[in-house]
Amino acid sequence: MNHRLLLLVILSLITANGFAAEFVVGNLTVKNPWSRPTPPVANAGAAYFIVDNSQGQDDRLLSAEAEISARVELHTHLMDGDVVMMRKLETVEVPAGQTVTFQPGGLHIMFIGLEGPLVEGETFPLTLNFEQAGAVTVEVAIGQQPYAK
């Protein structure tokens, strides 16, 4: 518990100072996980991050887990002109030598049936299950997008 608290404090300091939060698993690095704050009535939310696979082999994100909602799914958006179509994905490919960016209007982890609002300045743990690299739990910072759009 104390370790967890210490981690949270360190992470929030890192985020507050604008330094990249990075989580390494196998050859993958998950950078800057973040979520937008949600209105109290919202029952859906989303998380984003960058997966850097510049060192690794072909991998794929199989699933994600979090305590903050009833369901956690992998989603993307397809654009048809100015029409946004959100679709559920079974997996997300993370090819060797590439960086996959989750961001608004594109790939995202979707939280359905939020237990409560996502509050600016707070963080929550999110576990990402990769086929090759394995599972990694990252702390998602609730706030504004920390990397370029």
Binding site: R36, P39, H75, D80, V84, M85, P104
Partner: protein, 214 residues
Amino acid sequence: MRNKQLLIIALGVLSIAAGVGLGRFFMPTVESSKPEISGIYISPSREVENFDLTNQSGEPFTHAALKDRWSLLFFGYTFCPDVCPATLAQLNQLHNRLAAQGVDADVTVWMISVDPARDTEERLKEYTAFFNPKFGGATGEREEIDKLAKQFGVYYKIHDPEPGADYYLVDHSAAVIVINPDARLQAVLTETSSTDNLVKDFLAIRTRYDDTQS
């Protein structure tokens, strides 16, 4: 891999088709030269036919609400986890920037919910107020929502829940509709991810309107 390529090609074709579609929709009135905006400037502005919706306070939201002010309309739904919050956050930034210049008092942002089955007035009120207490929300009968959406070339589609899913998804146009103080359609903004662009586009539209009034 093959499938992925096909998907990309299919999406490309769809995007072009959609672009042509939107262009055609406004073709007779498109003026590409000025003002230059990320979207479609409509000149002469187009009449908005009456509609009958209900706002976040339970009051009627009709054509009359659009008069004597600038209205920015966005069609979405509160279950939307990504594009709607992103767009409303951008519109809040726009509103703040206009406020800093003292030109926000006659600008109202509305989220029109295309999902009345889930979005009650109370939900809409709390949802829009989270982004900016001055923002409004409105929804109503499917027929009335369609009446409004169709006039702007706004498309949406509500999907059936997938097997085993306890929710359904909604495809929707992410454009921001700009209505001038004569309650007429003046522009459709299609690129809302940059606050700078939004501010620049809106001020350009507004300046052009003011010029034609004098």
